[in-house]
Amino acid sequence: MPTLPPAARSRVALGLTAAAALGRFELQQCRDCGMVQYPPRESCQRCLSVRLSWTRQDDKGELLAATVLHHSNDLFFRERLPWRLGLVKLACGPTVVAHLHADAPPAPAKLRVAVRLDRAGLAVLVGLPDKENVNMADDRQLREFTCDPKHRKVLVTDGKSAVGQALVKALAAAGAELIWVGHAEPWKRLPGFDELQKLPQVTAVPLDVTDSKNVRELAAEIGAKVDILVSNAELHRTHGIASRQGVETARAEMDVNYFGLLRLAQEFGPPMRARGADGVASAVAWVNLLSIYALANFPPHGTFSASKAAAQSLAQCLRAEMRPAGVRVVNVFPGPIDDEWNQLLPPPKLAPAALATATVGALREGVEDLYPGDVAQEWLERWRDNPKALERELSS
């Protein structure tokens, strides 16, 4: 097993991890006196109130001091020395210890602080240069917190669907070295797929996630080389319970959306775990294309929603199994995608290209729960605010 950074955190400190999972820079703020505090506490350090919330903060700060570690008692960091750290006074108040990007100038200096999930899947703060530059993502330390597809080998389980093709193009543009593009039902020809295979990074591989033998054989062939697996094969039909007699359609959705994930996880999980946190050429991420309907059932697509909810739960199981290996499981929850299955839904809908861009962004930023697009974001806020109210709203 690979080494991981220290993983112990108090429960209150996990609030930072929850924010990092969504890619948000949030700190504890007292609802009574407004004090922003860090490290996280159980009460306000100024007025003792326990009404504390995690709220978005200004990410600007001043680098007070920097150091480079040449020694560490911790095995993960010992393997990665030298390592740059900084002490930053945030504009919103607290002084924080942060990992420091190589391009952040020496102290004193202005910089930005971001929150990222580290290889153990827990939040850490990272000091970044004030101005973004093109090669920032290549920073050796920053790459430890992200799942940047650049220079990596990726498997996209369904490269034939519109979303799949968009993902493949976006990954190629992001600098992926090699993209295996899975496709099922070879007699079904979809426009654009032939063109896609002309990309130099692309290798088409037959993959039907309902076929255990197929999955097993593909994993035997390429599993030991996959750095990022994008599980986007899905079956989407538009039925609730009463609108379709028999369990066949629902069963087919489960076989692809849920059991497909299980088959992939059983066969590709072990080789990826064996190469997690493994230095430059390591397995880093597993992306699941779920749906915002996994959070709260959308009754007109009721059985599809249920299959995505099942997949989400299984993805959490996978996340727990991949964490010790330092492989991040990224769940993507788009709202309705602009495709044939959401034709009857009014806009706004998410274009496949936008979904692909957001997914690649999530890999670059190390975000673990992605809610791309306006509908997904709004749905998430409603669900977090009051899930029962959302349930009623969706059933009317």
Binding site: W187, K188, T210, D211, S212, G246, E248
Partner: protein
Amino acid sequence: MSALAGFTQALSAGKIRVVDLTQTLSPEFPHISLPPEMGQAWPFRIEEVSRYDERGPAWYWNNFSCGEHTGTHFDAPVHWISGKDLPQNATDSIPPERFIGPASVLNCSEEAKKDADFLLSVDWIKGWEKKHGRIPPRAWVLMRTDWSRRSHDPVAYQNYDETGQHTPGPDVDAVKFLVEERDILGFGTESIGTDAGQAQHLRPPYPCHYFMHGAGRYGLQCLANLDQLPPTGAVVIAAPLKIRNGSGSPLRAIALVEAPLHP
């Protein structure tokens, strides 16, 4: 010697040979795919239960799943709307003597090679009968197209384009002729469908299903090795699984032929 004793003796002496007319059931075998708004038949899938391991130390077995119409399979009359009310129309109610019958093998392989949408016509059948004699009653009529040789390539086997599947089959009049004038037992093909791939455009659509099953006759699909059968004289044994009210089932279809092998 009794007829059966003579039969088994001929078998062991090699005077009667057994030809396997069945494709291997595997997940790779092409399966029918209807438009998404329809219910779908399952492709063949197989999941290992144990293989001399912690799940079962001394044994190996699998669970498999498929539709009634997956792989080489038998169609019962209840499969089609035209046969739904007939007596003895399901796999469990068809009298078992119907599972054995003589076969007339119509070699359309040249025509099928030139035209994937080749339709077998009454004239073609009559032409065949001039050479090989009248099709006897209660016989299987098997349309040999050598399509089974494409089975390793799912794209070629189903032969889809934007207008759908392109595979050979009988035309409307041929089906009616075989049912009404020749009283056949059933119709068999090497492709997916006893009807041609473009049979939705015939009137009525899918005439082989419509008229055969409407007359209480049967179908066989995805057959193989028809090229090893003589035009006449083979005996086909095709017994589907006894599924309660089954519309069909995958089966082991075999043919008995008298040696030597017909060239």
